[in-house]
């Protein structure tokens, strides 16, 4: 089969559509009082991010995003949330009044975004390197297991330590 570059159709529409869904549902995550609704909004955010990865010629990252984040992590979120008594939680008075810190953080992040938007042309290259779509996964594999083998193995060791730690903390008697 000939290696071909996948040419996306109607790029701006898809980009703005996916971004709108991502932003709106991200707002939904923090605005909803019901944690289950927040978690479902989070799913939409993560899925539209996966779509954006696809547009950036990274199908492997998009697939992993769906499997790990949506299929794994959010399922576990929901699993925990379902066991909480939500009705009591919704009536409870929220006493974490940290809006000042939140506002400050948001302002700093906003300034960062604006700065990137203004100066972005100079900082980032105009076009990312494109691999033929058929070889994306193979390129990721080569990078991870040949070029960056040591950092990758160190990261996996770190994860292993974290898993063992979680088991030790969760289990009373080993």
């Amino acid at each position: 089969m000939p290696l071909q570059e996948l040419t996306p159709v109607a790029t701006p529409y898809f980009f703005y559509g996916l971004s709108a869904v991502a932003v709106l549902s991200a707002i939904g995550v923090i605005m909803r009082r019901n944690p289950v609704h927040s978690a479902i909004s989070l799913i939409f955010t993560l899925l539209s991010l996966a779509g954006l990865y696809l547009m950036l010629y990274a199908p492997f990252v998009a697939g992993v995003q769906i499997i790990l984040y949506v299929g794994g992590i959010v399922v576990l979120f929901l699993f925990v949330i379902m066991l909480i008594n939500i009705e009591r939680m919704q009536r409870e008075y929220q006493f974490n009044k940290q809006w000042l810190v939140g506002l400050l953080a948001a302002a700093v992040l906003g300034v960062l975004f604006v700065a990137v938007y203004v100066k972005g042309q100079a900082i980032f290259p105009q076009h990312a390197v494109r691999f033929p779509e058929q070889l994306n996964t193979q390129q990721v594999g080569k990078m991870l297991y040949v070029d960056y083998l040591l950092p990758f193995e160190i990261a996996s060791l770190l994860l292993l330590v974290a898993i063992v730690g979680a088991v030790v903390m969760a289990k009373k008697r080993i």
Binding site: M1, Q4, N34, V36, H37, I40, I43, P59, F60, A62, G63, V64, I66, I67, V70, G71, G72, V74, V75, L76, L78, F79, M82, L83, E133, Q134, L135, N136, T137, Q138, G141
Partner: protein
């Protein structure tokens, strides 16, 4: 228009060729075919289960109950749609949709033939597993939104079960993907390689790798391929919540599990999604281990004469079915009460025979035989599903978990490591 017809001469899937009209046509055909398959499965499951238990099964609606699925569908459509008083309306409404959409989205990458897939993705199998894992979300949402104890417990069980069996499933899949990169001919991969030695996740390329290596992956590195296939075959039953792992809907403990509160059309969506998901995971198993669309022995029994002989199989299957139907028609009671049934069954038999005749035409025969071999392998799995349900007692939840975590996952990892070792040696 000429572009539209030109696609038929290309050897790419419509998604890759950029023939968007053909993409729509393929999607519609697949949707219709899967719906028909679900209807057929509904009838076959009740009939086969009944015969396994020495009963007759549905006999009243149509000859041998053939119209029973349609009667059931009509009943479900006309039934009142009940939403429990304290249910979370939005989530309750979304859950069946999520389950159905995810079940049908996986069909985009299933290769029914070298060109008979909606599209071929670089991440094919990863995409299928990812989208299939979204189905869990629908079940959790359904259980929680019903605001009732049985559905909640059912969906908790289901999510725990699916999350733990996904790991074992992933291990088995990775070992099959690994085999695509180990080129070489025959069971142990000795001899000159057929294709390139780059591994692949694409569904079509996985089947091509089996073609180039002259071996189905179930037989490769015997018994490693067989072990990986066995793990997948067990895990896929657990993933689709079918007997003997149907704890999320264990009738004796949880009435109907996560869909207790659903009725009418919404319930039928869950039903449709369950069967569509069963066909989808069976297709993964067929693609990864049973050679996908390949006919048996494409190399050993190769050559023009054998090709022609094997391409007659689809037509012969339909002739066999037609013969069976006509024999039943003749053997029906002679009283006048059975006149309508008898005519109907006779027409149905002739229709099957007519399809068989169409399949004999050479251009149709060549295009259809890939789909036929794929479908017949998937049908084998569907029969296994029914057989399991008629044979095995339901597992207890702790047995299910210890089987998953203490047996399947370690075996999966061991098979993966062994495959890598054998491949490198």
């Amino acid at each position: 228009m000429s572009d539209f017809l030109n696609y038929l001469n290309s050897n790419l899937t419509p998604g890759q060729a950029g023939a968007y009209l053909w993409v729509v046509i393929y999607i519609l055909i697949i949707f219709a075919a899967v719906s028909v398959a679900v209807i057929a499965m509904n009838w076959l499951e009740r009939k086969i289960l009944a015969h396994m238990q020495v009963r007759l099964g549905p006999m009243r609606v149509g000859p041998h109950g053939l119209l029973q699925p349609f009667a059931d569908a009509l009943k479900l459509l006309l039934k009142e749609d009940i939403i429990p008083a304290n249910a979370d309306k939005l989530v309750f409404w979304m859950a069946p949709l999520v389950v159905v959409i995810t079940a049908f989205t996986t069909y985009i990458v299933i290769p029914f033939g070298p060109t008979h897939a909606v599209t071929d993705m670089n991440i094919g199998i990863l995409f299928m597993l990812g989208v299939a894992s979204l189905g869990t979300l629908g079940i959790i949402m359904a259980g929680w939104a019903s605001n009732s104890h049985y559905p909640l417990l059912g969906s908790l069980r289901s999510s725990a079960q699916m999350v733990s069996y996904e790991v074992a499933m992933g291990m088995a899949v990775v070992s099959a993907v690994l085999m695509t990169s180990l080129s070489g001919v025959g069971v142990y991969g000795i001899g000159p390689g057929g294709g390139d030695a780059i591994g692949t996740l694409s569904m079509i390329e996985i089947v091509r790798a089996q073609m180039n290596q002259h071996v189905w992956f179930i037989f490769k590195f015997f018994p490693l391929g067989l072990a990986a296939f066995g793990i997948f075959a067990i895990a896929m039953v657990a993933e689709t919540n079918r007997a003997p792992f149907d704890l999320p809907e264990a009738e004796s403990e949880l009435t109907a599990g996560f869909h207790t509160e659903y009725s009418g059309f919404r319930w039928s969506l869950f039903f449709l999604a369950e069967y569509a998901a069963m066909i989808a995971v069976s297709s993964i198993a067929v693609t990864l281990w049973l050679g996908g669309w390949m006919r048996p022995f494409p190399h050993w029994l190769g050559g023009g004469a054998w090709d022609t002989a094997f391409s007659l199989f689809p037509a012969l299957t339909f002739f066999f079915l037609a013969g069976l139907t006509l024999r039943t028609t003749v053997r029906m009671p002679k009283t006048s009460y059975f006149k309508i049934q008898k005519t109907g069954l006779g027409v149905f038999g002739l229709l099957l025979g007519g399809i068989g005749l169409v399949l004999l035409v050479p251009p149709v025969r060549d295009r259809i035989q890939d789909i036929y071999w794929f479908a017949i392998k998937v049908a084998g799995f569907m029969y296994l599903y029914i057989w399991y349900r008629g044979t095995f007692p339901r597992y207890r939840f702790d047995q299910l978990m210890s089987l998953g975590w203490k047996f399947m996952i370690p075996t999966g990892v061991a098979v993966l490591i062994a495959t890598a070792l054998v491949g490198v040696l």
